[in-house]
């Protein structure tokens, strides 16, 4: 029993890391007032670019750079649409996801060969600490990329906390863009930057999924994880700790897919597949938390006159 619990937790953390990384980016974006629905597309593009980069160069690190860059590029597209062109954030976000899904499927036919070895990241056991029962394997036997990404998330959390100028600027732009503008904050620049952060982190999240976990690219390999990241922000009440907890819960829900059948529990696979999304529905339905989104969420900012 101990062993299987450990297995479940190991799988949960492994699946929670991409959600956590993407969600912490999305948190910054939403706090700045931009709802980025294209996290899913950014992750998928990141995963695709990471695999292409890693296979063509033979280096996993080049893969990470490609994945991050690809996510950033989708971020630029989304930022131009949401911030500069003031387009409908939800519609363009979903369209960007469809574009990423079709584009990576298209690209995979052209650029990727089945069965090629993809350079990736192996699990690194931290000496001594990884020997602790249960906690050891769960926390101290992740891949190098996972450690680096968790560190990135923590650094981002600190940099954009409400104790820094950046964090305050982000919150001001999201809560009351007009007042923020009057007090000298470059609202559009803050928002544009925040969407780029979403893109960068989502691209890295996709990279983690492709190079640390799956070690290959398959069509639609994110399969909705990006939407879980968006929901994790809502379920976590726009607070970093809450978001992290939500990401862990989603990770656990996904991990059950693999662990329960291994335990011999006879549950139809499809029921386990839908579990994270049912949880996500319950979360957005307000059964988990009652909180208020940033007031300016999805409202574009125009300096002349009112925001349309």
């Amino acid at each position: 029993m101990m062993l299987t619990l450990t297995d479940l937790l190991v799988a949960s953390i492994a699946l929670a890391v991409p959600v956590l990384v993407a969600a912490s980016g999305e948190l910054v974006g939403e706090r700045a007032g931009v709802l980025t629905m294209s996290v899913e597309g950014m992750m998928l593009t990141g995963a695709f670019a990471a695999v292409v980069g890693a296979t063509s160069s033979g280096s996993a690190l080049v893969g990470v750079a490609c994945g991050a860059l690809a996510g950033l590029l989708v971020g630029v597209l989304q930022a131009v649409l949401s911030v500069t062109l003031r387009a409908d954030q939800i519609v363009t976000g979903i369209a960007a996801n469809a574009l990423a899904l079709a584009g990576t499927t298209f690209g995979a036919r052209l650029l990727l060969e089945r069965g090629t070895e993809v350079p990736g990241f192996a699990r690194v056991a931290v000496p001594v600490l990884s020997e602790i029962p249960v906690i050891g394997p769960v926390l101290f036997r992740q891949t190098g990329l996972a450690y680096a990404l968790i560190a990135t998330v923590v650094v981002l959390g600190v940099l954009t906390s409400r104790r820094t100028g950046w964090g305050l600027a982000v919150d001001a732009a999201g809560e009351d863009a007009a007042s923020a503008d009057r007090s000298g904050i470059a609202v559009l620049r803050v928002r544009f930057g925040a969407v780029l952060v979403v893109g960068l982190l989502s691209g890295l999240a996709g990279t983690q999924l492709a190079l640390s976990e799956v070690h290959t690219f398959t069509d639609n390999m994110t399969a909705g994880v990006g939407y879980l990241a968006v929901v994790a922000v809502i379920a976590g009440s726009w607070r970093p700790v809450g978001v992290a907890v939500a990401a862990l819960v989603f990770g656990l829900a996904q991990a059950l897919q693999f662990t329960l059948p291994a335990l011999g529990v006879d549950v139809p696979f499809a029921l386990l597949v839908m579990l994270p999304y049912v949880l996500a529905l319950l979360a957005v339905a307000g059964l988990v938390s009652h909180s208020r989104p940033p007031s300016g969420l999805t409202k574009p900012f125009v300096r002349l006159g009112r925001a349309t």
Partner: protein, 413 residues
């Protein structure tokens, strides 16, 4: 550089800018090209044509990018065009299957437009199609033989619509009762709905055909003969009466929205919920019914899909029809006539795309690339095309492709 900001164009963007400091008539970053001046009369004329020209340019741009991609995939433009044409209208079979796809898209889009009139965006077509298909299959495979054949097909389609409506009503209930954005919930329900379909076709206790060997595919048994959609009767064409059904649904929806009090009330809700409420309009009930109707439209589309050849339910049933239907609905901007045209165009594009893969070796996902580029292009250029029409004619719901103001500021309660 102060001239642009005091041009008539800028002045029409809304009531006076209360927050604008007088000393900053030339801000360092102008808020986008929308505020640039129209240059003289020609510019004005161009501007009034913008609602037509800008989306058209977006569509052409998307097609141009797709052509480049087809070339990258190794097809010459001539080859690709020939394959696309062949797949769209080359044979009676091609035309028939394009029309069938168009019918499915029109059904989804019709539902979408009804909900959109009330200011709701139904992104859940995919899940609603899945549920409709599951319901239709359940009825179509398990109906006792005593039921008269005449009733079978209507019953199958009715159950499909009801299942889709039920799926839509989950999101509708959450939107009305708890103020949760229907975009997020319908989106999540897509994943759950797709899993329900997979569950249904993988479990023998549910809809899977009896497993006789290890090669039995995870799909349902075929629907009984009486549940098959009749063909239109065009020689060599697989076109079914679905197209008649879809056109009828669109016509009815259009009549209801335009000519009935319910239609006016829905539009009122879509324009301004507080105002509609003050006029005594039952806002919650209308919003609930509108989104449920959208679910019924997509559910019916799912029923049509299983009632067409090969008359079985499998997990690849709805390959993106939900999204394509949404594309049709968004591009139609509230007009059912436009929806018919766009659904036809996309239907042909989708069928053509399949042949593009078979004949020219270009991956079929190129049609989805084109569709999403069109949406990005049209939605991204809304500041040039939508505002003008909005100031002139306030009848269209604000949620079109432009920015939404009130309808979805709350993501969660």
């Amino acid at each position: 550089m102060t001239a642009p900001l005091s041009s008539p164009t800028a002045a029409t963007t809304g009531p006076g800018p209360s927050a604008r400091p007088g000393s900053r008539s030339a801000p360092p970053r102008p808020p986008g090209p929308a505020a640039r001046p129209a240059r003289g009369a020609t510019g004005d004329r161009l501007r009034s044509l913008a609602p037509v020209l800008v989306p058209l340019a977006a569509v052409l741009g998307a097609l141009a990018i797709s052509t480049v991609l087809a070339v990258l995939a190794g097809a010459t433009p001539a080859e690709a065009a020939a394959a696309l044409w062949e797949g769209m209208v080359g044979t009676p079979y091609a035309i028939g299957s394009s029309v069938n796809v168009a019918a499915v898209l029109l059904l989804v889009a019709t539902g979408f437009l009804v909900a959109h009139r009330a200011g709701l965006v139904n992104v859940g077509g995919e899940g609603q199609i899945c549920l409709g298909a599951v319901g239709a299959t359940a009825v179509g495979t398990m109906l006792p033989a005593s039921v008269p054949a005449v009733l079978t097909l209507p019953l199958v389609l009715l159950v499909a619509a009801l299942c889709g409506a039920a799926w839509g009503s989950i999101a509708a209930g959450l939107a009305v009762r708890r103020g949760v954005s229907e975009v997020i919930t319908t989106l999540l329900l897509n994943f759950v709905g797709a899993a329900v379909l997979v569950l249904a076709v993988h479990e023998e206790a549910l809809l899977r055909q009896p497993v006789t060997s290890s090669e039995t595919l995870p799909q349902s048994a075929p629907l009984v003969e009486a549940a098959h959609l009749p063909l239109l009767g065009v020689p060599d064409s697989p076109a079914t009466v679905a197209v008649v059904l879809a056109l009828a649904a669109a016509a009815v929806a259009s009549l209801v929205l335009r000519r009935t009090a319910t239609g006016i009330r829905l539009a009122a809700v879509g324009q301004s919920r507080p105002a509609a409420l003050r006029l005594g309009v039952p806002v919650d009930r209308l919003r609930f019914s509108a989104l449920t109707t959208a679910g019924a439209g997509a559910g019916l589309a799912g029923g049509v899909l299983v009632a067409s050849a090969p008359h079985v339910l499998d997990d690849g049933l709805s390959s993106g029809y939900g999204f394509s239907g949404l594309v049709v609905g968004l591009l139609a901007r509230g007009s059912f006539t436009a929806a018919v045209g766009i659904a036809t165009a996309l239907g042909f594009l989708v069928s053509g795309g399949i042949n593009l893969q078979l004949a020219a070796g270009v991956p079929a996902s190129i049609t989805q690339i084109t569709e999403s580029l069109i949406i990005i292009g049209v939605a991204g250029t809304a500041i040039w095309s939508v505002r003008r029409s909005r100031t002139r004619r306030r009848a269209a719901p604000r949620t079109a492709l432009g920015s939404t103001a009130t309808a979805r500021t709350e993501v969660s309660s």
